[in-house]
C-alpha cells in the first residue's frame, strides 16, 4: 500500500469520525438549550447566545479535521 492509498482511505474516515463526534456533541448541546428555552422562554436570548458559542467551539474540532483534510488532500496525486 502506497501512502497515497493509505491517505485516500484514511482521510474520509477520519473526517467522518470527527463529524460523528461533533454531531453527538452538537445534538446534546442543542437539545439541552432547547429544553432550557422551553422551560424559560424569557431567557431564550441569553441561552441562544451561549448555545451558539458552545456550538462554535464543538464545531471547531470538526473544522480542524477538515483543514487537515484539505492540507493532506494535496498529497494524493
Amino acid at each position: 500500500m502506497t501512502f497515497q492509498t493509505a491517505l485516500s482511505l484514511a482521510l474520509p474516515f477520519g473526517l467522518a469520525l470527527a463529524a460523528i463526534g461533533s454531531a453527538f456533541g452538537l445534538g446534546k448541546a442543542v437539545a439541552a438549550a432547547m429544553d432550557a428555552m422551553g422551560r424559560q422562554p424569557e431567557a431564550a436570548g441569553k441561552i441562544q447566545t451561549g448555545m451558539i458559542i458552545g456550538c462554535a467551539l464543538i464545531e471547531a474540532l470538526t473544522i480542524y479535521a477538515l483543514v487537515a483534510f484539505f492540507i493532506l488532500q494535496g498529497r494524493i496525486q
Partner: protein, 284 residues
C-alpha cells in the same frame, strides 16, 4: 479531474485547481474551486508578472474591494444625517443600534467603547463571506489562500484584546490575570501550572478563530464548486451548454453559514474581551 465538463467550463475549473496545486502542499490542491474574474484574467496572461501578482494578491484585492464598498455605502448613509432619516440612513441606524445592543448585552455597558470594533468586524466578515456568492467574485476568507485573511482578522482581535486587558487591568493586573489571580497559598503553588496554560490559551484563541472561519468558508466554497461541476456534468453527455443548478440549495446553506460564521467570530471575540476585562470572580 473526475468530471466530464463541457469545453467552456473545464479550462476555468482546471486552471483554478492547477493554480492552487502549484502553490505548495499546504493548500487544498485537489479541491475544486469556482473561478473568479482574477483567476480568469491571470490565466489569460499566464506567466507574466502582472498575472502572477494578481493571482497571488487576489484575496487582498477582493478584501480591499469589500472594504471600499462598505466604506462608500457607510459614507453615503452618514454624509448628511437628517432628523427624519431616509431609507439608507434608517437601515444603517437599525443595523448599528442592533449591533450595539447585542454587544453591550454580552460585554455590559462599560464596554461600549469596544462595540465599534466588534460591529465593524461583524459587518466586514459578513460581507467577505457572502462576497463569494456573487458570480465572478470570491470570498477572501475562503479559497486556497483564505487562511491569510482570517489570520489577519484574528491577529487584530488578539492584539486588541491584549491591549484592552493591559489598559484596563494595568501591567500588574494583566500578569495577575495570566497567573490565574492567585490569592492564597495553594493557588500561588499552582502558578507555574496556571501561567503556561493561560499563555497557551491566549495564543490558541487567534488560531482557533482563524481556522474556524477559514475551514467553514473554504468547505462551503468547495461544496458549491463540486456540486456545480456535478450539475454541469449531468447534462454534458448531450453537449448542452446549460447544466442543472444542483448547487442552488447549497447557495442558501452558504448564506446561512456565512452569516453564522461572521456572528460566531464576533461573538467569540466579544467573549474574549469579556474574559479579559471582566471582574476576577467571573472569568471562566
Amino acid at each position: 479531474m473526475i468530471y466530464n465538463l463541457p469545453a467552456v467550463l473545464y479550462p476555468m475549473l482546471a486552471t483554478a485547481t492547477e493554480h492552487a496545486a502549484g502553490e505548495g502542499a499546504a493548500q487544498p490542491a485537489g479541491a475544486p474551486l469556482l473561478p473568479n474574474i482574477i483567476t480568469i484574467v491571470s490565466s489569460r496572461m499566464h506567466g507574466s508578472p502582472l498575472g502572477e501578482f494578481l493571482h497571488h494578491f487576489e484575496n487582498v484585492i477582493y478584501s480591499l474591494l469589500v472594504a471600499i464598498i462598505i466604506s462608500v455605502i457607510a459614507w453615503r448613509a452618514s454624509r448628511n444625517p437628517k432628523m427624519i432619516p431616509g431609507r439608507l440612513q434608517n437601515f444603517f441606524e437599525m443595523v448599528v443600534s442592533g449591533l450595539d445592543q447585542f454587544f453591550t448585552g454580552i460585554l455590559g455597558e462599560q464596554a461600549r467603547k469596544y462595540t465599534p470594533f466588534l460591529g465593524t468586524l461583524f459587518i466586514y466578515i459578513w460581507c467577505l463571506n457572502l462576497f463569494g456568492l456573487i458570480p465572478g467574485m470570491m470570498s477572501p476568507t475562503g479559497g486556497p489562500n483564505g487562511i491569510n485573511t482570517t489570520i489577519g482578522l484574528a491577529v487584530c482581535v488578539f492584539f486588541y484584546v491584549q491591549y484592552a486587558g493591559l489598559k484596563k487591568l494595568g501591567v500588574g493586573g494583566y500578569f495577575d490575570h495570566l497567573m490565574g489571580s492567585p490569592r492564597d497559598v495553594i493557588s500561588w503553588i499552582l502558578v507555574p501550572l496556571n501561567l503556561p496554560i493561560h499563555i497557551i490559551g491566549e495564543l490558541a484563541k487567534p488560531l482557533s478563530l482563524s481556522l474556524r472561519l477559514f475551514g467553514n468558508i473554504t468547505g462551503e466554497d468547495v461544496l458549491l464548486a463540486a456540486f456545480l461541476g456535478l450539475g454541469v456534468a449531468a447534462t454534458a453527455f448531450m453537449n448542452s451548454p446549460i447544466g442543472i443548478p444542483l448547487h442552488l440549495p447549497f447557495m442558501f446553506l452558504a448564506l446561512l453559514t456565512g452569516t453564522i460564521q461572521a456572528l460566531v467570530f464576533t461573538l467569540l471575540s466579544s467573549v474574549y474581551f469579556s474574559m479579559m476585562i471582566a471582574e476576577h470572580d467571573e472569568h471562566h
